[in-house]
């Protein structure tokens, strides 16, 4: 779960990390009130979960009221890599001399958290990390012991941070690790940390992602997640408790188990179609779940045809078939053609039960996908 910059910065500020003065605004008037308070220069920053906001035109620096109004108008409501900008953070501009990158994340390979610091902070950090891995200093943390303060200092010195600010940066890094641990974050990144002409150290950006599996022990963060959905269908999926990702194609996909659903997406592509979504309904397939899943894909205007692929392990195929029949019987008219493929336990019984007035039935995954791709093509022709 991704927090917005302004949400993360509130958490940072509460923990004592210096951040620029800022206000959140959802209208141009609010943005102008904010700059009147904060003064110039002021950064107008789109609050969307998209990397590279600056390069995409989602961050502008206003030096007077006229510019502030112009930028707020431009950015609010703009489409940023597929996301509509609903709010902007208006933030005091920082006059900086240097930019650092600092971060805390889980190193999957090592199975341990890792601290990262680089003096080559700024917009191109990903390229820096790729082309010159040595430019990023790393320090692994034993998750059982937690961070020893010396480790934060060590990695900051190793990165070559200027001596006069090194301890301040180490202190911020140490606090970031505490926040990472306390909040079950999966990742915290500040890029850049700005060093001002007066040698103050300020967290000018904030990326904080939370491990969704740990939200049960962080009800306050779960509330923030509510505010951070950016797509109505993704919000709906959250309510239903589905794993759902919206994509750009026109073949709707419903299945059980992440690996098999991904495989179904891949096959849609392999056979010349384009997947509209990833939707994993998980174990079991009672009528209610099936109805909810169909509601999700039917309400996506991009979807022209649907493939429903269930491999019944413990779930029995005949039960799934009953669920599909019951779910589809609720519709006066089936809005989009649905191809169903059942496999595994009691699959044959299930295939017989399926109401073929409502759905098309295929025996193999490959055939089901090809038929759905063809159905979608027929709609678009």
């Amino acid at each position: 779960m991704k927090l917005h910059e302004h949400q993360a910065k509130t958490i940072f500020a509460d923990a004592g990390i210096p951040v620029p003065d800022s206000r959140l605004a959802t209208t141009v008037d609010e943005a102008l009130d904010a700059v009147d308070d904060i003064g110039y220069p002021a950064a107008i920053k789109a609050q969307v979960h998209v990397g590279g906001r600056g390069k995409a035109g989602g961050i502008k620096i206003a030096t007077d009221r006229e510019e502030a109004e112009q930028y707020a108008e431009e950015i609010l409501g703009m489409d940023l890599k597929g996301y509509t900008v609903d709010s902007v953070l208006v933030e005091a501009g920082v006059d900086f001399a240097d930019e650092l990158y600092v971060g805390v994340t889980m190193d999957r390979g090592a199975g341990e958290p890792v601290l990262m610091v680089s003096t080559e902070g700024g917009v191109n950090i990903e390229e820096v990390a790729e082309e010159n891995p040595d430019a990023v200093a790393r320090e692994h943390v034993d998750p059982a012991f937690g961070l020893h303060p010396y480790q934060a200092r060590k990695v900051v010195y190793e990165a070559g941070v200027d001596a006069d600010v090194a301890l301040d940066v180490a202190s911020i890094l140490s606090t970031l690790y505490d926040l990472y641990e306390e909040n079950d974050a999966s990742e915290i990144e500040v890029n850049p940390v700005m060093i001002t002409g007066d040698r103050d150290v300020i967290a000018a950006d904030a990326v904080m992602n939370i491990d969704e599996d740990a939200l049960f022990r962080h009800p306050d963060l779960a509330d923030l997640a509510e505010e951070s959905y950016e797509d109505d269908l993704e919000r709906k999926a959250g309510e239903y408790g589905f794993d759902y990702v919206r994509l750009s194609g026109n073949v709707g996909i419903i299945g059980n188990g992440a690996g098999l659903v991904m495989t179904t997406l891949d096959l849609v592509d392999y056979y010349g179609g384009s997947p509209a979504n990833f939707l994993d309904i998980g174990g079991g397939a009672k009528a209610e779940r099936v109805t909810q899943a169909l509601d999700m894909v039917f309400s996506d205007d991009n979807v022209d045809a649907v493939v429903f692929n269930i491999f019944g392990g413990i779930t029995r195929g005949d039960e799934v078939a009953k669920g599909i029949n019951e779910a589809l019987e609720q519709f006066d008219e089936i809005p989009k053609k649905v191809v169903v493929r059942l496999a595994g336990t009691n699959a044959e019984e299930g295939m017989e039960i399926l109401n073929t007035d409502l759905v098309e039935v295929e025996k193999t995954l490959e055939d089901a996908v090809q038929r759905a791709v063809k159905n979608a093509e027929e709609v678009t022709q």
Partner: protein, 289 residues
């Protein structure tokens, strides 16, 4: 022969009194697995389907000589249950639970380096040696006994591939779902190493998916250490970067790392054919045997 489990394995089910635990303990017994005990705090002295329940894993081991556990404990308590297995020095712990916080698993992972217990999972369907034992939730009826080893990061995709194999008469020696989380116990390499050493495994199927670099590392291992032929499958070719596809671990992050293509390339470089469809994976295995 087989790897990690057989008909001598003596199983304690942690969480046997819960809905999932009770149901699957019954399924495991029906399959012929030696389920000798359950362990649930506060439920010691009860019985589930004739299986005695103890308050702690330690008591279950003392009384019933259990040497492996299967864990059906809710995510909030699952890491604790895994620690209990590790600290009781079982040979094997299989964690089925989905949704254990990653930072909890980092602590478990640290302890794993200090014990001899093998952990499979979490967030996995378990392990099965057809005709002998199943520890987990895999549907026993789709498996048949034979000489193909299978290791996979995902559950239902495993079933799909097994189904394709079984349909052609290609039985399995052992099938393991290692789980889709970012931090897991048994890795691809651990399973591949065991299959390579197993005299009755003549071919191996490895099903990976996007995220992390485990498949790339496994590919290097295969190239350098394996004579047994391996066929591969990688799910998530069409997954966009930055979007988590169900499994906590299935995400392409950053530029170029963890993508399906980098995994397919690594496997091909190691001489492993990768199927475009599950059906093609079975074709490759058929060619090997």
């Amino acid at each position: 022969m087989s790897i990690f489990v057989d008909d001598d394995t003596r199983v304690v089910v942690q969480g046997i009194t819960g809905g999932e635990g009770k149901f699957h303990a019954g399924q495991m017994i029906e399959y012929g697995t030696n389920v000798v005990a359950g362990a649930v705090p506060g439920k010691g002295g009860q019985e589930v389907d004739g299986v005695p329940v103890y308050d702690t894993v330690d008591e279950a081991v003392e009384a019933e000589d259990a040497d492996a556990s299967v864990i059906f404990v809710p995510p909030a308590f699952a890491a604790d249950a895994i620690f209990e297995s590790l600290d009781t020095d079982l040979d094997l712990a299989v964690a089925i639970t989905e949704g254990i916080p990653t930072q909890d698993m980092a602590k478990v992972n640290k302890r794993l380096t200090e014990t001899d217990t093998r952990l499979i999972g979490p967030n996995c369907p378990g392990i099965i040696t057809p005709g002998e034992a199943k520890l987990g939730i895999l549907p026993g009826n789709i498996f048949s006994d034979g000489n193909v080893g299978l290791v996979s990061r995902s559950g239902t995709l495993t079933y799909q591939v097994v189904d394709n194999l079984t349909e052609r008469g290609l039985g399995q020696s052992t099938a393991i779902g290692i789980g889709g989380d970012p931090i897991i116990g048994t890795s691809f390499i651990d399973a591949l190493e065991a299959f390579e050493a197993d005299l009755d495994t003549d071919a191996v199927v490895m099903c990976g998916e996007i995220g992390g670099e485990d498949e790339e590392q496994a590919a290097r291992f295969i190239g350098e250490n394996m004579d047994t032929p391996v066929a591969g499958f990688i799910a998530g070719r069409t997954a966009p970067p930055g979007k988590r596809m169900g499994h906590a671990g299935a995400i392409v992050s950053g530029s170029g790392t963890g993508t399906a293509q980098s995994k397919i390339d690594a496997l091909n470089d190691a001489g492993v054919p990768v199927g475009d469809t599950p059906e093609e994976v079975a074709d490759h295995v058929e060619d090997f045997l």
